[in-house]
Every structure is written in C-alpha cells, then in structure tokens.
C-alpha cells in the first residue's frame, strides 16, 4: 500500500505516474493515511493513552477490516452497480478462504500441499469465478427478490455442507469448528507470503508470526507488516474494480442497473454482461476470503459461508453508500469502529475502560433504579455494538439511503454514480401501475 506513494518524489518513474497522482490526489492522501495508520495509532495512543485507544480502532481490527472491506466492495461491485442483489455472496468469500486452507493442507486434488499462498489465492479466486458462472447460469434467469433468494439458497447449501462435510476436516472431528491451515501435523507450517511471486525481495510473510520488515525496512511488528502487505493487495483489487467500472464494460453494468429493458433495446445482450460482472465480483470476493485466512490461519463456516457474512457486507454497503465501490469499505470501518468502541475489556480500548479510568468511582457507582452506571454500561453497551449498528443502519435506510460516500459525492463530486436510489424511489412513486399512468388515457 505504501509502495507507490512513498516513492513518488524519487523521479525514478515515468511522468504519467505523477500526472495520475495529481489527478487522484484525494485517493493518494487516503492511501497514505491508511499506510501510516499503524504508526499513527502507536504514536497517538502513546501520547494520549486511553483517549486515543477509545476512539481509534486497533491495527488488528484494521487488518480484519481490510479483508472484510474488500469483500464488501466486491459485493457492491455486483449489487450496487448492476442492481442484482447477490445475497449469497458469502459463498465466494468461503470458497476463497477454504481453498487456501485446504490447498495448503494438500487436501485438494491436483493442488500439491504447501502450494504458495499467492498461487492458492489466485486459483481459489478462479474457482470462485467458475462457481459464479454456474450459479449465474441458474440465477440470472430470475431478477429482483427471486435472484436474491436463489443466490442465498445456494450459499446456505454451501454453509450447511461446510458445517457437515467431514472431508473438510480430516484431522478434527467436527467441521463446524472450522479448519486451520497446517493443522494435520504432517503438513508444513502455514507461512503465507504476500507479494510478487518468484521475486524474493517483493514478498513478505504475513500472519501473527510473519516478517517484521517490509521491503528491507524493519517495522518491528509482524502485525503492521501484514497490514501493509494485505493493504497493498486490497488497494490493487480496489483499483482494478474501479478501472472496470470506468471502462465501457462497467458503463454497461450501470446501464443495466438503471434500466435493463432499455439496455437490451439499445443492443446489449445483458445476460453476458451480468454474468461477466458476477464472475468478476466473485473473483474479488474470493480474494477477500483468502486474505482473511492469510492472517487468521484458520476459517470456520460461520465466519465464511454464513448468511450474516453477506448481511454485514450489505449493512456496510448501505452505510457507506451502495454503488460507490469505496463506500462499503468505509462502511465497514464505521461498523467495526462502533463495535470496538463498545467492545469488552481486554480486547483493546473502548468506552467502558475509558470511563472507568477517567470518571470518579462515585459517579460510576451512582445507583439509578437499582443499577449503577457502570453496571448499566456493561449490560447495555459493552459488547453490544451490533445493537447500535443496527439502529444506525435503520436510520440510514430511512433517511440516508445513498449512504455516507453517496451523500458526499452527491454534494461535492462530479461523477456521482450513487443516485440511483432516489431514482428507484421516484420510479415507483407515481402509482403501482405507472405504466399506463404515465400518459393518461392510452391503449
């Protein structure tokens, strides 16, 4: 992530890079901010202690956000841009994640044990593309709610299968427990290398026990190295998806979302474009799953194939802005931020540890209706981020349906793509039989 930006001043690159960066100043600034975040976090928490810890998500949390945020972006790629709600998108996340683990453990035919992580990530993503092709063949005969439900149904079948299929976990007895890379002892340790394959200098090992330096610069903490390496891959994926959206192909996707009937009438075989978009989104969804497992080292059905994995991508997409690509990523930061702000003690900062340290005990122990403030906090806030996230989500659906980034772009941006929501609403408004209504009397 930091590679491109930190070295722009060097003059070793052709001039178009400078031009590109000037054109995408905002993007560059955001990338730099993300790149320096772990250092900033360390610095700020060092300076301000719990205050900073309370507000800022930890680097560890940011690592999770990178993978899940990429997943939310891939969900938005198909759902936000073509309008087809991929309610079973978790299937691709799961495929990517499981493929890496099983591939590493040598349980997959053809794939030799201990195949390099980057290769597994790519092949797994291609497997997801094939799966998307098959699912799409069935599902794109339907639209609207039916499309959402059939994709959900297929993903749930995979979830049930991953919960029960003994093949997934030859070493342990219960597939619901999930599977860890390198867990059967005859397989070597899981040492995922992220970077350019076959170029030693451009690879780092990620994971809690990975490298402590990146590009020859020591940062002293494998977590930060993993964060930067995974972040670079996520950035690359984001740029690729963004490029596709701004290509002629991407414009057809948007045309389909806006008005599929008219897109057909002007000569597009929309089925091919929908399939293409679905397969591309599956690719990046699987990459997200692979990156997730790259750091975690293990995966289980509930955090891969389960419906709520898609559900929270959807929540993130709405809060961030459906059809803004980057919005869902920020939506995820927001979600996880709320979660961590209200997290339990022992898992980083948050509201309660902060208050406990900073408020006088007398206030915390004030008794209101048989409950002290501290008790109330621990009962009704700490660890219940989802409750507040849910309420925020409802407020967004009702009052800010185009999300944070959608609103920002509407207000300040030039190429706003996020306004279809308002149009969708308007389209429905005249009356349920707007068709004949639009021209009054008619045949």
């Amino acid at each position: 992530m930091s590679v491109e930006t930190q070295q722009t001043g060097g003059g070793r690159f052709p001039s178009w890079i400078g031009q590109y960066l000037r054109d995408h100043l905002l993007l560059a600034v955001i990338v730099v901010l993300f790149a320096v975040y772990p250092f900033l976090y360390d610095f700020l928490t060092g300076q301000f202690g719990l205050t900073a810890q309370m507000i800022l998500p930890r680097t560890r949390t940011m690592l999770t956000i990178l993978a899940l945020g990429l997943f939310a972006m891939s969900f938005d790629f198909i759902s936000g841009y073509t309008g087809y709600l991929s309610f079973g998108h978790a299937a691709f996340f799961g495929i990517g994640a499981y493929f890496v683990v099983l591939g590493h453990n040598g349980q997959l035919p053809v794939v030799p044990a201990e195949t390099s992580f980057m290769l597994l990530l790519l092949i797994g993503a291609l497997v997801a593309v094939i799966a998307a092709f098959l699912i799409g063949l069935i599902s794109f005969r339907l639209s609207g709610v039916y499309f959402a439900m059939i994709t959900l149904g297929i993903a749930e079948m995979m979830y049930v299968a991953s919960n029960n299929w003994g093949f997934l976990t030859p070493g342990t007895s219960d597939p619901t427990e999930g599977v860890a890379a390198g867990s059967p002892t005859d397989v070597g340790f899981f040492e995922p290398m992220v970077g350019v394959p076959f170029v030693e200098a451009l690879q780092v090992e990620i994971g809690p026990f990975g490298d402590e330096s990146i590009l020859g610069i020591s940062v002293g903490d494998p977590q930060i190295v993993s964060y930067l390496a995974i972040g670079a891959v996520v950035l690359l994926c984001y740029l690729m998806m963004k490029r596709i959206i701004h290509s002629p192909f991407g414009r057809v996707m948007i045309a389909i979302r806006e008005n599929e009937e008219r897109a057909k009438a002007i000569g597009y075989n929309v089925f091919y474009y929908k399939m293409g978009a679905f397969m591309i989104s599956a690719f990046f969804g699987a990459v997200a799953g692979a990156l997730f497992v790259g750091y975690e080292g293990a995966i289980d059905p509930t955090n891969s194939f389960f419906f709520l994995v898609t559900g929270f991508a959807l929540v993130a997409a709405i809060i961030g802005g459906l059809g803004t690509l980057a919005g869902p990523f920020f939506g995820y930061i927001f979600l996880e931020g709320v979660e961590e702000f209200l997290s339990r003690e022992g898992s980083g900062g948050g509201l309660q540890p902060f208050l406990e340290q900073n408020l006088p005990g007398a206030i915390l122990d004030t008794d209101i209706a048989g409950l002290t403030i501290n008790e109330a906090l621990s009962a009704f806030m700490t660890g219940h981020g989802d409750f507040y996230a849910g309420i925020i989500f409802i407020i967004f659906v009702l009052y800010v349906p185009i999300g944070m980034l959608g609103t920002l772009r509407n207000r300040y941006g030039t190429d706003s793509l996020a306004k279809y929501v308002s149009a969708g609403v308007e389209k429905r408004l005249p009356s349920s039989d707007g068709e004949t209504a639009a021209t009054g009397d008619d045949d």
């Binding site: 002007i266 591309i280 045949d443």
Partner: protein
Amino acid sequence: MLRTNRLTKRFGGITATDEVTFELGDKLTSIIGPNGAGKTTFFNLLTGALTPTEGTVELKKDGGWVDITGMDTHETAQMGIHRSYQITNVFPTTSVLENVRVAAQAHGSNSVRFWRNVNNFDEHYEEAYGILDRVGLADKAEVPAENLSHGEKRQLEVGIALAGDPDVLLLDEPNAGVSSEDIDAVKAIIEDVATDHAVLLVEHNMDIVMDVSERIVVLNQGAVIADDKPENIQGDPDVQEAYLGGYEAGDLEARRQDTAASQGSGTEPDGGGLA
C-alpha cells in the same frame, strides 16, 4: 427497409395483431388507430419484444431481405432497428451524455473491454455529442437524465434511439405527456430524423400526425383498415367509424321501447367481447 408478411399475434382468444402485411419505405409513416388497436403490440413484434404467433418480419440489409422474426430485442437493435418508448424509458441517474454514449457504444465490440478507461473511446463521445446537438440537448449534456423536464426527456428518448446509426427508427408516441408549449421542439426533431432514417411513428396527436406524415396507416382491432396519404385519411368514413363507431345512435332508445313492450328481460348478455 422493413416489411412484415401476414404478421399475427394472439393473446389467448384475442387477436392483437391480425395478418398485417406492411412495408416501410423512405416516407415518414405514422400508425394511428383507436385505443386497443394494437399499435404498441405491432411495435413490440417488430423489435422482437414479442414473438409473433404467425407471419414474418424482414429487414433490408445490404440490398437483400433478412428474416428477423423471433430475434431478441438486443439482436434486432444490433441489426439496425431502434425504438423510442411511449413512457420515458431512459437511464435516470446517468448524465444525458452518458445515456446517448452508452447507446452509441452498443454497436461494435468496445463494450466488452473492461481494462481501458471509457474516456479513451473518443468515437462514442463524438457520436453522442453529435446526437445531442441534433435533438437539441447539447447544453444539457452533464445533467442527470432524471433532472430534465418532461419535454427534454422525450427529446433524449429519441436521442438514445438515434445512437448507433440505426436504419429504421420506431418512435412510440414521442409527444406523450409533452405540454403544449414543448410540442414544436419534438415535432421538429421527428421531421429532422426522418431525413436520413426510415421512420415509423405512433402518435395520438392528430395535428402532428397530419402535419409530419407522408403516409398514414390506420389500425383497428389489430388489422390495417386504411393506408394512404394524410389528406385521404382525414374524413375517411372507415377511419371515423373505427374511432367513433361501433354503436348506432338511437339504439338505446329503440331497445328500451322494445323491452318495455315485451316486458321481457332484454339484458342477458352472453359471452362475447373480452373473455
């Protein structure tokens, strides 16, 4: 340019299009007819949105006739038949320019390119700007389509149909819902596009039909009942009968007296009509 042979479409027991044999040439031709005459069904058969029960649709391509019966809408569009819609049917939140540009892009193979920025395909932008000039929307190029006035949306509707250089343009009530002040603008566009396209127009506004058409085809209950120059259509008794008839004045009075005389129950309708 486009011809049909005994084109028929039945929905259950109703014949919406009844053995229509028709050829569209260079003359600006209008289709008119009372409610339910089957004009929109006929359009849908031509573009492939509906599959005919019987009969064929053929398009003149490079001097020969090509059978396009049963093709899908995107295929007929690729063949060169484009249409506008009676109900505004544009891409609402994209810019006016993009609405036309994406239509222009549909022809050729550039649309499958997903690795190059769309801004590198100048030809589509040039075509789109040209069309916006033609339909009088050049100064609205950056406005999202949903923010146009109704009249401007109708202009855009025609603009989208124009993109990709079609041979045949089917315009379905380009004036629908246009307020009185804006009608002239749309009329001028119809006359302009007819100079270099074969145009088939469905329209309710008789002033416009009589004014712009060189030929008028009258449909009633799915069948062609008249096909002539506008001046001959006006006042044609068959046409007036189709619009206003189907009932003999004084009939009710006569029946009422009958019923009163016989004291019977004359009101027992059986079957008939729309099933």
